[in-house]
Symmetry: C2
Subunit: 505 residues, 2 copies
């Protein structure tokens, strides 16, 4: 076997393990009996350890070192084409990351992540931060340790951020956030002054959850989610995972008095799922068959959730169908009122249910807190108080309890620090991509009105999904839109949209 074939074989085997790990995680959040938690943590840790061993093991390392200098990343071969070179560079990037982590640490971290996530589920249910605190404290310490091993960024936090959004820095994020905040705060203020112009109460009537489920499935199918290679289930915290591009699973959360959360959550996860289902099967197991970054991944979910799911065109198609399912509740509402209601801007406690404007304030708050935890040893025990103060500062409201405050997100429980900023980056990406798609596809909004999302999906497949990691995130934005990553298109979009909905001057 050639060195390249050895590498691809080893990575394919690592992907089998990754697929298995995804199933273990999916099952843990959906159907696993509660009493199986400890055993599951052992299983996950063991599989993670095997995967790590595979990714830093002698077969891969030996073959890789024939083609690329393991220290510097310089190519040692002249025989690769552009695409193969990209592929090799990304493989090397992963190798460098994995090989910086000791095997025991990887296993211990995976075990703690599973245990800590289960502790979070319980703490959130019982509104008991004190129970969760030692798990999170240990997780913060392990992430600080991880940052030391990775040692790729200017600060510990930057090293963690780079895992999720390669080449992104907290300085760059701060710059973008400042730009957004400068225009967002006055925009939200203008909206607050005329908030009576949009009434959202229609969304909190009683909506049968089974009918909500059915409507969500209809919408998933409409946007192109393939039920033959995917499924949806229910879980405490909606997520998408994939054991393979032919097995992509989303979850949703349904509540009787909240139509918006389930509906947009379903479209959001559907966007993630379309990306996973759109990865090239023939590149399965190597970077060219993988998502570019979390930010780009999230751009797909935000695009379907917001740019599609909150658009007037979408509701021209979807509202009559929704109305048919909920005759009594929606009898006296028309699609314009509904569209305004679902776009209402109002500071709220829960990030995943926030509107498009205030959403980014939730992210900025988390970004600030994450940096304090990782870079400045801010004590975890004081987190609830800090959280509530920041909520007051950023959003002008305070959680009634920790369950709707600091305990609301799963991310930190399994060690995802440096992950949140990708959510706002994704909003920027999504608008830049969508603007381009609208230019490239004449009559896109009309297609939505007819329930036809196929041209958009094809555009995303060809320009994003099938690229795999053949481009870096910012490179893709520049290449695809002719513009660098910027907050301006996003803020232009928000201002234009809300000016219309709220009839701002």
């Amino acid at each position: 076997m050639s060195a390249r074939d050895v590498i691809l074989k080893e990575l394919l085997e690592a992907s089998h393990l990754q697929g298995v790990e995804a199933l273990l995680g999916w099952d843990q959040e959906t159907y696993m009996p509660e009493g199986a938690g400890a055993a599951r943590a052992e299983q996950v840790a063991y599989i993670t350890g095997l995967m790590h061993t595979k990714l830093v093991g002698e077969p891969l390392k030996g073959a890789l070192s024939e083609l690329i200098d393991l220290e510097t990343g310089e190519l040692l071969t002249m025989t690769l084409n552009d695409r193969e070179t990209r592929q090799l560079k990304e493989i090397w990037r992963d190798y460098r990351q994995q090989s910086s982590l000791p095997a025991d640490f990887v296993t211990d971290l995976a075990k703690h992540a599973s245990v800590s996530q289960q502790a979070w589920v319980r703490a959130r249910k019982d509104n008991d931060f004190a129970f969760y605190e030692p798990f999170l404290t240990k997780m913060v310490e392990m992430q600080q340790e991880k940052a030391k091993y990775l040692a790729i960024g200017a600060t510990a936090y930057d090293s963690l951020l780079d895992q999720f959004e390669p080449d992104m820095t907290s300085e760059k994020v701060s710059g973008l956030f400042a730009e957004i905040r400068a225009r967002l705060v006055p925009l939200i203020k203008s909206i607050r002054e005329v908030k009576h112009r949009v009434n959202g109460s229609i969304l909190t009537k009683e909506y049968d959850v089974d009918q909500q489920w059915n409507f969500g499935i209809d919408m998933l199918k409409a946007i192109g989610f393939d039920m033959n290679t995917g499924r949806q289930d229910r879980s405490a915290h909606p997520f998408t995972t994939s054991t393979h591009p032919t097995d992509v699973r989303t979850t949703t959360r349904l509540r009787e008095n909240d139509l918006k959360a389930a509906l947009l959550g379903t479209l959001h996860e559907g966007g993630h799922a379309l990306y996973e289902q759109g990865l090239l099967l023939e590149e399965y197991g190597n970077p060219l068959g993988q998502a570019i970054s979390l930010g780009i991944h999230e751009s797909q979910s935000r695009l379907w959730e917001n740019l599609v799911g909150l658009s007037p065109g979408f509701w021209r198609f979807a509202f009559p169908k929704l109305q048919a399912k909920f005759k009594d509740q929606l009898r006296n509402t028309d699609k314009e009122q509904f569209h305004a209601a679902i776009n209402r801007v109002r500071p709220s406690m829960i990030r995943v249910e926030a509107d498009e404007a205030t959403y980014n304030l939730h992210i900025m708050l988390r970004f600030e807190i994450e940096k304090m935890l990782i870079n400045e040893n801010f004590p975890v025990a004081e987190l609830p108080q800090l959280w509530n103060e920041k909520m007051k500062e950023y959003l002008g409201i305070e959680p009634a309890n920790d369950a709707e405050g600091v305990l609301q997100d799963v991310h930190w429980s399994f060690g995802a620090f440096g992950y949140f900023p990708t959510y706002t980056l994704s909003n920027l990406y999504s608008v830049q991509f969508f603007n381009q798609a609208r230019q490239d596809i004449p009559g896109l909004e009309d297609q939505f009105g007819r329930g036809d999302f196929s041209a958009l999906l094809t555009w995303l497949r060809e320009n994003i999904h099938q690229i795999g990691r053949g481009r870096k995130a910012e490179e893709l934005v520049l290449e695809l839109t002719g513009q660098p990553l910027s907050a301006q298109p996003f803020m232009d979009y928000l201002e234009k949209k809300y000016t219309k909905i709220y009839n701002l001057s």
Copy 2:
């Protein structure tokens, strides 16, 4: 680490892989999207390969060879107590079995088993044996090859049988079957002559499947199934699997016009599950925390299904509850009529739905056919015809199509040849065990009538579940009941039972 600690560590890791494999299999039969079949086969094969590597790898082999002669199984150490010696002998048995199989063969077999099982699902649904034939042909060939590697029995078939029921031979099975047949055929004939005395039509009215499900869950809880460490789902073919003793999963199949199948199927799988939930946690990962044999495993399911679930005592407790769920259907039936109906003897097409008497004829038929396939190269293409002829000979009826004929069982599709005889053995074990439990627990039948199954479960836990593989199957029977394995108690039980129900002379 001592040699024994190394062995236990390696086996624990193999158990993690086995747990993961169980989850992959469970998911394949319950929730996996259909399009994921090919990817799943790769994942299963990869994990199976890892498990094999672990079980024959140098760490285990080296440590084992310090304690036991790998060729002969003779002990090389004097420091082990009885229980540790048992444990070591069983580990050696497994090692010998695993190490006789080439690694590539193990992976190929696992992959084919997954693919072939999926082909069976489709073939059964479409009633299309021709589609399935090449998969089964390849599987028979692979099993013949496997038998050559195992090379432990007098015939190829005996080598396969020994995997599922250690130390059992087809000669011994034939002897027991002959004994059963000699008394069973006249018994069934006597019943046929007075078949009008029991009317089973009450069981095929329309019964809402959700209510059937709820009743099944109630019964599972009543017999002691722990929902905190287990769950039930639906699948095409009911089964039980375990990713760990704290995560035991059963499935059931529900049909509106068949009350008996779901109910007894649920108790049957519940019996398997109670065994798995009753294994010693502190012995997890080694033979002392594993089931003795498939026959003993099945004895637990048959005991709960038949000795409990078909007993008058059980229905004194359960019938009023069933009646409350199905008021209209059961208005004019009393518990004695119901008990007779659910015990009705009638030759039928589907093994898993057969009564206790004719059930064993289904097994004998499969045993004959399996031997022909494995030992005599009987052509798979001619299997449907052979099946139908044997059905005529053994049960006097012929399937209308292959779906209710040769395609009804999943077992051969994933390579379980030599497995079926354990079903009849289990009937013998179950009656011998139950007779003993009734001697040991005064008023057992009265306890059933009050819905109290705890004394029986405790007896099974202490005398069987917690033994692990500390005893061989026949050894356990002898030790526990004072009698060797025999067909006589089983036939005595059947004759006595049906004499009463059918008022035979």
